[in-house]
């Protein structure tokens, strides 16, 4: 069963220059024990999409569509219910979240905070015991609970944040660029911790990154966003190695396969910049930067269509699948 289901979700920000549509009709779903990678550049709307899950958007944002968390629409929840759902059903690990740790409190105390808030009856020794278990789940010795944030490395702090996100036994974890500021070795450790949790606890995970290679190695499925829309979706390895959309192909190509001589002295980029939200070009929003664009791309509205077994692409020239 889908833990999270987004149905035709749009997010529009009000600004001095008028309405800015940041997300335009996104539908996604994630099952228990599965991980979905959400890829895209700055401004593609990936963080706006996932912020709808716990209604973390600012007041200037209007959200339409349906965001179903275990079948219950988050957008229409009463405030009290929403508070109960945050942490206990779904939790978020933000990019650079480790900087959000309170520098003058021991990390064990901070991990226990959501437990104390959500389970008022929990005794102090029980909370402490759970903190120790949580730390071990993310590969840290339980004595780390006694440490202050400055005594920990970046990777350790990020794992503390993951432990905190797991504290109330959520069904869904949203990880927004959880490894971007970390070294490759530490990144691998953190990715391993997240993947293990998804598998062992049957969690659903949404993982956001601009690095398609990280997503492909960490997630079961990928959704690639451009200008507020999903332009391709499918199993990770297939989207990474054999994209059905020129934009996903460009994102995948930006990270060289080490050892493959085609990438030596040939960094591959994508000329131009993504459109500002609200200034998406007509037709396929990607057409001005697309190396394969033809005239029809500028005039034809595109939407996600099946392009293979469990695959979808919005490119007009993606493989056709008979219906």
């Amino acid at each position: 069963m889908a833990v999270l289901e987004l149905e035709d979700v749009s997010v529009t920000y009000r600004s001095a220059e008028g309405a800015v549509p940041a997300v335009r009709g996104v539908s996604l779903s994630v099952d228990a024990g599965r991980s979905l990678g959400l890829a895209g550049e700055s401004g593609s709307g990936k963080t706006s999409v996932t912020s709808t899950v716990l209604r973390l958007l600012p007041k200037s944002a209007t959200v339409t569509g349906r965001v179903l968390l275990e079948g219950e629409d988050v957008l229409t929840m009463k405030w009290g219910r929403l508070r109960a759902v945050r942490w206990a059903t779904a939790s978020v690990v933000f990019q650079g979240a480790m900087h959000a740790l309170n520098p003058v409190q021991r990390v064990g105390h901070q991990i226990a905070e959501p437990i104390r808030l959500h389970e008022k009856s929990v005794s102090e020794p029980t909370a402490r015991k759970r903190v120790g278990e949580l730390l071990e789940q993310v590969g840290l010795p339980s004595r780390v609970a006694q440490s202050y944030p400055h005594q920990l490395s970046g990777g350790q702090k990020q794992r503390v944040m993951i432990a905190m996100a797991l504290a109330c036994g959520p069904k869904l974890i949203v990880a927004d660029e959880p490894t971007t500021a970390l070294d490759v070795m530490v990144q691998q450790q953190v990715l391993g911790v997240l993947a293990d949790r998804v598998q062992d606890l049957g969690l659903a995970m949404v993982f956001i990154s601009h690095d398609l290679s990280v997503l492909a190695s960490a997630c079961d499925d990928l959704a690639v966003m451009y200008a507020g829309q999903v332009v391709e979706q499918g199993p990770s390895d297939q989207v990474f190695d054999d994209a059905h959309h020129p934009y996903s192909r460009a994102l995948g190509g930006a990270y060289p396969r080490i050892g493959d001589l085609r990438f030596r002295y040939a960094p591959s980029g994508l000329p131009g910049d993504p459109p500002f939200p609200g200034e998406a070009p007509s037709g396929c929003a990607f057409h001005p930067r697309c190396p394969q664009a033809r005239e029809v791309c500028a005039t034809t509205d595109v939407e996600l269509r099946p392009s293979g077994e469990r695959r979808w692409s919005s490119c007009l020239f993606a493989p056709e699948v008979g219906t």
Binding site: V184, Q189, S217, R264, Y265
Partner: protein, 321 residues
């Protein structure tokens, strides 16, 4: 091997560490950068790569060894340093942090010229640098402010600010790690083209082996203050000798993947560098018995400093010989 424009010879940099113990951030490094050469200096946070690059720029004074500029020892008088910092420019990771939000692109690029009392045509020099950095037509960018630019354009402005003084060497510290995927390739292509058109030498400091594979002629892998493996990029990354390099390569996220070798143990601490091979407490080869024959050396015998110039070499008792 072409003549070297910038060279580290036996460089040591020691800081006062926590609790008064000296931290040997750079602990004996030989590394040379030839004219028109692109060298990648690779390693994890805290390995000393940034300290080494700051020492090469003359921003940090080594406690041992010397920096050679075109074969001559760098002097630490104010005038000599100023001259050196003109010919060796630094490009930092985060272009948003590197640019003053209240200064226009023109002012940002012209600043270096003013610091160095440039007496030529400032406007022409700024326009030329912007154009070389791929911001064309340059005049259109003169009066823009950083917030009006995309991440990639900002990094181009920072690079233009380095180019405007016509340096011989650019040291780029993680030049693409804060940039979006599509922009990353563009900036790397720009760095390659600057080598072609201007004969620039480039030291790219990064933790990203993909960047090295994309643009570097040579790669030097640094661990806890020392270079542990270096050589031509293709040789080092296709057939790594040092267990540390192998571990780094194994965790590069790609699909058809070798089993990742995740290093465990305490993160390396420059105030307590292990005896023998400094990597031995975390070495997978030593742990799984592959290095049994040389284990005593690994634990107790100091390794020589790598020459840092030409062929493929590794500082490892097991594989380096």
């Amino acid at each position: 091997m072409t003549e070297s424009v910038l060279e580290a010879r036996g460089i040591e940099v020691t800081f006062r560490g926590r609790g008064g113990r000296p931290a040997r951030a750079v602990d004996g490094v030989d590394l040379s950068l030839g004219r028109g050469e692109i060298v990648a200096l690779v390693g994890e946070s805290g390995c000393g790569k940034t300290t080494l690059s700051r020492t090469l720029l003359g921003l940090e004074r080594p406690s041992g060894g010397e920096v050679l500029v075109s074969g001559r020892p760098l002097e630490y008088s104010a005038a000599a340093l100023k001259k050196h910092r003109r010919s060796a420019q630094l490009v930092l990771q985060d272009p948003t942090g590197a640019l003053n939000p209240r200064r226009s692109v023109y002012e940002a690029v012209a600043e270096g010229l003013r610091v160095h009392r440039f007496d030529g045509d400032e406007r022409a020099a700024v326009a030329d640098a912007l154009a070389r950095a791929g911001l064309r037509p340059p005049e259109r960018f003169f009066l823009r402010y950083p917030h009006e630019l995309s991440g990639g354009q900002r990094q181009r402005v920072v690079i233009a600010g380095a180019l405007v003084l016509q340096p011989q060497v650019i040291i780029a510290d993680e030049p693409v790690s804060s940039l979006d995927a599509s922009v990353r390739g563009e900036i790397l292509a720009l760095l390659l083209s600057l080598r072609e058109s201007l004969g620039l030498s480039l030291l790219v400091v990064t933790h990203d082996l993909g960047v090295a594979w994309n643009i570097a002629d040579r790669i030097a892998v640094m661990y806890l203050g020392r270079i542990v493996e270096q050589g031509p990029t293709e040789e080092v990354l296709s057939a790594p000798k040092h267990p540390y390099t192998r571990a780094l390569l194994s965790v590069v996220p790609e699909i058809d993947h070798v089993e990742p070798i995740v290093l465990t143990g305490e993160p390396p601490d420059p105030t307590a560098i292990p005896t023998g091979c400094r990597f031995h407490p975390r070495c997978p080869a030593l742990r799984d018995g592959a290095a049994d024959a040389v284990a005593t050396d690994c634990r107790g015998k100091e390794l020589p400093v790598l020459s840092g110039t030409g062929g493929h070499e590794a500082a490892c008792w097991l594989t380096g010989a």
